[in-house]
């Protein structure tokens, strides 16, 4: 566990930078599908952050939460796409 313990702040900070950059598109997306795709990216980076945190604290429960977040993000994306199919957004 030596290498991961030593590099843990660097790894978390790098993924957090990616999270911040993606949240710009989430806030300022011109259309609704932009926000949904940015939210999808942020969900997947959050999963990696949760797995890193679980390894750092030797806590297996956080992995169950990561599985739950992955499935809920997928279901939410499908639900919003079904909601958007009937509407006219652009043009």
């Amino acid at each position: 566990m030596g290498i991961l313990e030593a590099l843990f702040p660097f790894l978390v900070f790098s993924f957090f930078i990616s999270l911040c950059i993606a949240s710009y598109r989430l806030v300022r997306g011109p259309t609704a599908p932009d926000r949904v795709i940015a939210g999808d990216v942020m969900v997947n980076v959050t999963i990696v952050l949760l797995v890193l945190l679980s390894f750092h604290h030797h806590e297996a429960m956080l992995l169950d939460i990561a599985i739950l977040i992955a499935l809920l993000g997928f279901i939410g994306t499908l639900a919003i796409s079904k909601f958007l199919e009937g509407r006219d957004i652009g043009d």
Partner: protein
């Protein structure tokens, strides 16, 4: 166990690079249909590669750690392209405005 930790760390560094490149592409690309490519780079190259690296690192923790991380990676591999396909099909169907330099839209030509 350095021979399992070092490949895992290399995969994690590749994942960090791809996640940041994909996020930069997400704010730099002009169109939702083009931005989805950057999103795929960020998810497949960033999250999935990092999760496989964490499987290798978690092998020495023992217990259920590597198996659960592998299941998370499988869920992300199957769920993310499906969600992106669904949201882009919905965006095309609801006529989201394309980039002004787009010159070919074969799906709309098929629909007539």
């Amino acid at each position: 166990m350095i021979w399992l930790e070092l490949p895992g760390l290399i995969l994690l560094l590749i994942g960090i690079f791809c996640a940041n490149v994909g996020a930069i592409g997400l704010i730099r690309f002009p169109d939702v249909f083009i931005r989805s490519h950057a999103a795929t780079v960020s998810v497949m190259g960033g999250s999935v590669v990092s999760l496989f690296g964490l499987v290798l690192i978690g092998c020495q923790l023992g217990g259920a750690f590597p198996v659960k991380v592998f299941i998370i990676a499988l869920i992300v591999i199957f769920a993310s392209p499906t969600g992106t396909h669904a949201i882009l099909k919905a965006a095309h169907k609801s006529r989201v405005q394309m980039w002004h330099k787009t010159f070919c839209d074969m799906l709309r030509e098929e629909e007539g």
